[in-house]
Amino acid sequence: MIVRIFTETQYRLDESHHARLDELDDLVVAAVKADDEDAFHASFEELLDYVRTQGEPLGDDELEASDFILPPPDLSFAEAGEEFTGEGLIPDPPAAA
C-alpha cells in the first residue's frame, strides 16, 4: 500500500503493516477527541515515524495514487481539530460524528 505524508513524500509499505497503522491512527483520533494536545503530538509523531521507518520512499517519477494520506508533519493541534470536524472541507458532515 502507498501512504503519503503531505508536504513530505509517498511511502510504499507492505500490507502487513496495515493493522498497526490502523491502531496508531486510532490513537491520534482518540487524542484529538479527548482534547489532549500532548497525546496528540506524541501519537501523531509516532504514526509518522512508523510510516517513515517501515516504508520505502517512492521515486519522484512514480505515479501512484496513495491509499492513505496523512496531514503535514507540522500540523497543529488546532488544525487537527478542524480536520476532524471537517469544517470547510466536508460540505455536509455526517450527523453525530
Binding site: 503519503r4 508536504t7 491512527d25 486510532d26 512514480e62 505515479l63
Partner: protein
C-alpha cells in the same frame, strides 16, 4: 483504513477528487495540470520572495534587539553600581522583554526556513511527476484500447493530482507562516516605536510612564529580582531581601563570573 480511522485520508481525498473532477477527460487533466503547474510556479516564486523579505526584516529586528539587550544589561550594572536600584530594575525588565522577543523571533525564522525548503521540494516533485505523466500517457495510449487507456491514464493522473494538492498545501502553509511573521514583525515594530527597547538614558532616567507600568506586568518579577541579586553580589554589595537564585538559571553570560553572596562575609 479499515474501521473508523483514516479520517484525514477521507477528507483530503475528497478534496483531491473534487479537483480532478473538474476534468473528465484525462487529456484535459494533463492540460489542467500544466496550467496549474504554471500557476504554482508563479505562486511559489512570489511565495519565496515574500518569505525572504519577511525573514530579512525579522533578522534585522533581531539584530537591533540583541544590541538593546547588551546595552540594557550594561545600564543596569551601571545603575546598580551607583546605587540606583529603581533604574536598574527598569533596565532589567526591559532586557527581559527584549530577550523573550529575541527567542521568539529566532524560532519563527527557523520555522519559516523549513517551510520554504518544503515548498521547494514539493514543487520539484510536481515538476518530475508531470513529466513522468506525459511520458506514461503516450505509452498507455499505444498499448491499450481507448477505454482501458482512459482508466489507466486516470489512475496516473491521480498521482499527479495528489502532488498538485501537496504543492498547494505546502504553499498555503508557507503563506500562513509568512503572514504570522509579518504580524509578529509589526508587533515588534510597535514595541520599538513605543520605546520599549530604547536606551534608557534617552528617555530621561527614571521617568515612569505607561510603558514602564506595562513592562512591570509583562516581565517576570522573580527573574529580575534574581538578576539584581546577582549584580549585588558581583558588586560586593549586601543582598537585603533577595530570593536565593537556586533553581532558575537565567542563562546570563555574567552569571558564571560572580561568587554569589561574596560581599556578605
Amino acid at each position: 483504513m479499515a474501521g473508523q480511522s483514516g479520517r484525514f485520508t477521507t477528507v483530503i481525498k475528497a478534496k483531491i477528487s473534487r479537483m480532478l473532477d473538474k476534468a473528465e477527460d484525462p487529456g484535459e487533466t494533463l492540460d489542467y495540470g500544466y496550467q496549474k503547474q504554471l500557476e504554482s510556479l508563479q505562486g511559489v516564486k512570489k511565495g519565496i520572495a515574500d518569505v525572504v523579505t519577511a525573514k530579512k526584516r525579522l533578522q534585522m529586528q533581531a539584530g537591533k534587539i540583541e544590541q538593546s539587550v547588551v546595552k540594557l544589561d550594561t545600564q543596569a550594572r551601571q545603575a546598580m553600581g551607583v546605587g540606583n536600584e529603581e533604574l536598574a530594575r527598569m533596565a532589567l525588565e526591559r532586557k527581559n522583554v527584549a530577550q523573550t522577543e529575541l527567542q521568539s523571533l529566532d524560532q519563527q525564522v527557523a520555522e519559516l526556513e523549513s517551510q520554504q525548503q518544503k515548498l521547494i521540494d514539493s514543487e520539484q516533485k510536481l515538476r518530475t511527476k508531470i513529466e513522468a505523466f506525459r511520458t506514461k500517457k503516450e505509452v498507455i495510449k499505444a498499448q491499450y484500447s481507448a477505454a482501458e487507456a482512459q482508466v489507466r491514464i486516470s489512475e496516473a493522473a491521480t498521482g499527479v493530482g495528489e502532488q498538485m494538492a501537496d504543492v498547494g498545501m505546502a504553499m498555503q502553509r508557507a503563506v500562513d507562516k509568512t503572514e504570522d511573521m509579518k504580524a509578529r514583525a509589526d508587533a515588534v515594530s510597535e514595541l520599538e516605536a513605543a520605546g520599549t527597547f530604547d536606551d534608557l538614558t534617552q528617555i530621561g532616567g527614571g521617568g515612569q510612564d505607561d510603558i514602564d507600568r506595562q513592562l512591570h506586568q509583562l516581565s517576570s518579577g522573580s527573574m529580575v529580582d534574581e538578576e539584581m541579586a546577582k549584580m549585588r553580589a558581583e558588586l560586593g554589595q549586601g543582598s537585603p531581601a533577595a530570593p536565593a537564585p537556586a533553581e532558575l538559571s537565567s542563562g546570563d553570560e555574567a552569571a558564571g563570573t560572580a561568587k554569589p553572596e561574596e560581599g556578605k562575609a
